[in-house]
Amino acid sequence: MQTVVVLDYGMSNLRSVAKALEYVSEGRHRVLVSGRPDDLVRANRIVFPGQGAIGDCMEHITAMGLDRALREVLPAKPFLGICLGLQSLMEWSEEGGGTPGLGVYPGQVVRFPRELHAPASEDILKVPHMGWNQVWPAGPHPLWAGIAPGQRFYFVHSYFVAPKDEELNAAYTEYGVRFTSALARGPVFAVQFHPEKSQQPGLRLLKNFLHWDGNA
């Protein structure tokens, strides 16, 4: 039986992610919530979830030796980053006065601009960007199987990734600005929204991940 490790770095609520994976796995995968680098190395696939402040996240990751383990496993096996698990792949985040990330991909994590306006409206958009918004895949990918373009997923964030290499973009979303809501390269797929909280489309994406061989 394949093992999926849900990365536990001691700060966020991982139950939702683990429960959603168990639900779609239908008993065919072992879902292991762990913060041990050797579990990461042994896993067949990895989910890196996260909410909250990226500074705390990176501090925990580094203190637990998970940064090295992540850099080792990232190009080697199917990986799904969620929210902070996406943002931490970049070089640097504006959040908290500036926080270095894992630097797997060149680019930054930036905040939604102040005075963000809805299209053709006087209304100022609220930050955090919270709720169900549309995700537009940049192209075909096995993780989008069965998910229609423009499908809504649940978001909650104030910062988004701006990868330097446009070819990393796997999906876009509009919220006053157009931002990268998913990126993909090789066996890495990472999303800004929360598939574990996005009902059917989210569960479908998680199921696609569990069956993915890591090739785009």
Binding site: N13, K19, A20, Q51, K126, P128, V156, H157
Partner: protein, 259 residues
């Protein structure tokens, strides 16, 4: 059309682990079962589900964490839990059980620093500050137009609701759940002036609550009240309207919804 949808959030009152206050679906086996009720709303297209714990006894409160745990294992949309939350430990327990957000009301008034500590510790995204407000009887220059109440609307605080909402944002609240105590239970519609006042005073999302009696009230809450999300209980519980019907009505009115 592209963009963020306005949210519909059914709210369930929970007492000692059971849904109370008249959830009446015609075809539900056990209307008191939080899992079954939540699942029903999920199927209808609810964008989130809120649980309000009205258990009087502190001892019986632990059952709430079990309720959240059971629901979170089967319903994959955001869950907000409120009612009687007093400490960082209370919040931690509920988040660990599977709640995505907790709402803090009386405890925030008693100790505003709790909001700061909680958002530092768990992130703003999971800290909702619930504000129960009432129009001031003798509104005059300098006195609040809407006053914050605590203890389920029984206790006046003398605090101006607008200033309070701004302060809560500053301390790290990720969202405001605003209930008009004047309208709660009346079915006369949201207090639109209050909703708009608060929605325009803060940069974080505002959930309007209190007074929904029909689907046009929901439309008004967004179009006139400028709410980002709408919380309702009785119109859904009694089977008067489904969440889907509510959203269809909103979409007809030009509001972006998830359907």
């Amino acid at each position: 059309m592209m963009g963020l949808a306005k949210r519909i959030i059914p709210c369930l009152d929970v007492e000692a682990g059971r849904v109370v206050k008249g959830v009446k679906f015609v075809d539900i086996r056990d209307a008191g079962d939080p899992v079954e009720t939540a699942r029903r709303y999920d199927q209808q297209g609810a964008d989130e589900i809120a649980f309000l714990d009205i258990t009087a006894s502190r001892d019986a409160r632990d059952t709430l964490a079990h309720v959240v745990e059971a629901v979170a294992a089967q319903v994959f949309i955001p869950l907000t839990v409120g009612g009687g939350i007093r400490s960082i430990e209370d919040i931690r327990r509920l988040l660990n059980a599977g709640a995505d957000k907790v709402s803090i009301n009386t405890a925030a008034v008693r100790d505003p620093e709790l909001v700061r500590q909680a958002s530092d510790r768990f992130g703003s995204q999971c800290i909702v500050v619930a504000i129960d407000a009432r129009a001031s009887a003798a509104a005059s220059e300098g006195s609040p137009r809407w006053e914050v109440f605590t203890h389920g609307g029984r206790k006046a605080t003398g605090i101006d609701a607008r200033a309070w909402a701004a302060k809560m944002e500053q301390l790290g609240a990720g969202e405001i759940l605003l209930t008009s105590m004047d309208r709660d239970g009346t079915r006369d519609g949201f207090d639109l002036a209050l909703t708009r006042e608060i929605a325009e005073a803060v940069g974080i999302p505002v959930i309007a609550s209190g007074g929904v009696g029909n689907l046009d009230h929901l439309v008004d809450g967004v179009c006139i009240g400028k709410a980002d999300a709408l919380l309702a209980a009785s119109i859904f519980h009694f089977g008067l309207y489904t969440v889907r019907a509510a959203k269809e009505r909103m979409r007809e009115a030009g509001i972006e919804v998830r359907l």
